[in-house]
Amino acid sequence: MDTAGIDPLTGFLDRHGCLRNAARLTEHAHRDQKPLSAIWVNLDRFRKINGSLGMGGGDAVIAKMGDRLRSRNEHRAHIARMGSDEFLLLAPAHGCEEAASLASELLQLIAQPMEVGAMSLYPTCSVGVASLEYAEEAESLLQRAEHAMHEAKRQGGGRVVQSGDEQLPGRLGIKLAREELEVEHKLHAALQIGGLYLHYQPIVSFNGRIEAIEALMRCELNGEMVPPVKFIPVAEKTGLVIRLGEWSLMQGAMQAKRLSDLGLPTKVAVNVSRAQLTAPKFSQALYAALLCSDVEPRLIELEITESLFMDVSELVQSNMRAAIAMGVSLSIDDFGTGYSCLATLKDIPAGKLKLDRAFVVPLPEDRRVYAVVKAISQLGRELGMTVVAEGVENEQQSCALQDAGVDAIQGYLHARPMSADAVTGWLDHQAALLKA
């Protein structure tokens, strides 16, 4: 039997089958001048369900959702499964109002308690509705329904949103979503063909010692730079951030090994995101990176934001303990920008504290900021940490920071972020200066 285009779990059309069908229904609706509506249904908290019941449990929930949709399909809607927890109903002869009423019925139907194994679930869903506009193509209709569904989800789930009622309605919202998709595509492509690379910015102590070089990710595709402010949020949203984080760890470790082999042993600081530290495989990936690069663990530092150190989850804590046990050091990144809790600072197993640039920009004029920097520096030193200030651009700032007791600085004043080759040359030059 030809099962292409059919989802094996629910027996509905799959995404490909649905797209073909949508094109056909749209064509008929325009030809017969009849309405057509798309209703996009997404189960709320499905990841949590999958996490607690396992993949098999997740599949059972989806199969039951499918049965519910099928059981009440007297409206003769064409149903498709568009993704792991997403369904699309294409309802011919349904205008805006009929579609909205059908969507509300679906919302209630899905909200009935569901028995899966020994557990009772109370599922909810987010629903987006769009009705075909004059000369509109199927793709655009589906996009509008999906966009409305995302808005329903953004508003907390368990509700219906009509296309056009979103905060960034219709096409403008879709345009932004499309931009995100493009960035996601670029990221994937960059990972694929080597468009991702690390730049390194030195952290220099006031006594001239190179404390470390911080690895900063760059993405370039077809000669065009994609700035981190654009690709990092997309990576975080799509889960790609874990893979990118592993990639950085490996590349950073390889650079540390290269420098060490060249007789320029320098600590490489790699940023670690929340998504990485809350992933169960983090410590294994870190160990594998150390193993494969053959680098001394003391040459690797993980920069972790302050809020993660405060995270009480066992996974985060055990991942950090494992990193320390491997001989890797930790530093507190962006200190002072979140909810700093001085009481817990004493328990943080970090050797370095990095003051956010927000404390540097107002210097040297702002004496109140200066007082805070001085107090933090003293506290950091008492706790045995090296205090680093980020974003230092001029001599005046540098002097004020030194005066306040900061140990090292990072910023354009010393060096911009550089390519792997350039930073190697820079380190070599610094080493020669020191010898001289």
Partner: protein
């Protein structure tokens, strides 16, 4: 050298030891040169050919790959330059990585068997693409390269932890748990993650790295989750099928992986049990013919 027993030390103790006590294969310089040339947009074939030619076994490996039957070239490559032109720089890059991988580890009798099995699975995987067609952008050379690198984390861990072989035996015999879960019980990492990192450091394509990372993840394979892209899913399925055919044909049945991943692999490749037997016969015959040639 560190000696370890099956009464393994705790993970914390293992962490506490430096990881820097064995030589892990560094990325061969030729791969750096290739990556640079690829990024430049206008690769200099002459320069690449010259670098490859400096290493006799790399040259021989590249020419052998270009002449292997699943590429189906009528003419036979005689020189490195010729092989590079025939394969194109992308495929040549993967072929070079495959040859360099085996060269990177010192020869030992135990590893010989491992490499031979890997090479056979790689070859069968390549043949399978020839029979099933190119889908999700996965060509014979991709399947072949993945077959070679799929388990490359194992020799790394064998050299690091002598007790790793015992763990492998237990993992091979376990019909229920994920293979890597057994490794995770004894060691701070597993061969899938190490293999993925090694492949990444050797600049292999991302879909191959991800497939290495998840090739024992039967729940992920069964679920159809998008976190494993279709190209990587196809690579895992092809190599799993190749391994099954190899084990059936050679009489070696050392793993329980087909029981865990077989159905999902067949479904990914859109194959039924009937087609499987026919396909296995074709792959084995194809391979035997290639051996004669």
């Amino acid at each position: 050298m560190t000696t370890e027993t099956t009464q393994s030390p705790s993970v914390e103790e293992i962490y506490a030891r430096t990881v820097l006590d064995i030589g892990i294969p560094p990325r061969p310089t030729i791969l750096d040169i290739l990556a640079r040339e690829l990024r430049s947009g206008e690769p200099d074939f002459g320069r690449i050919a010259q670098c490859v030619s400096e290493d006799v076994s790399l040259s021989a490996g590249l020419i052998k790959t270009a002449n292997s039957p699943f590429f189906g070239f009528r003419v036979r490559a005689r020189t490195v330059s010729h092989a590079l032109t025939m394969l194109g720089i992308n495929i040549a890059g993967k072929a070079i990585a495959g040859v360099a991988l085996r060269n990177a580890f010192p020869a030992s009798p135990a590893l010989e068997r491992f490499w031979d099995a890997s090479a056979r699975i790689a070859e069968y995987s390549g043949h399978l693409v020839g029979l099933l067609g190119v889908r999700e952008g996965i060509r014979s050379d991709d399947a072949y390269t993945f077959g070679l690198f799929r388990d490359c984390g194992m020799p790394v861990l064998m050299r690091k932890f002598p007790a790793y072989r015992d763990t492998l035996l237990r993992a091979n015999a376990n019909p229920d748990k994920r293979f890597t879960a057994i490794e995770d019980e004894d060691f701070p990492t597993n061969h899938a993650i190490v293999g993925c990192m090694l492949a990444q450091s050797w600049s292999l394509p991302e879909e191959i790295c991800l497939a290495i990372r998840h090739h024992h993840d039967f729940l992920l394979m069964q679920s159809g989750a998008i976190s494993l892209p279709p190209a990587s899913r196809r690579l895992v399925a092809l190599a799993q099928l190749a391994e099954y055919i190899h084990q059936q044909h050679s009489g070696m049945n050392q793993t329980e992986e087909w029981a865990k991943l077989g159905m999902a692999s067949l479904s990914t490749l859109e194959l039924g049990q009937v087609q499987l037997d026919e396909l296995a016969a074709q792959v084995v015959a194809h391979s035997a013919q290639a051996d004669i040639e």
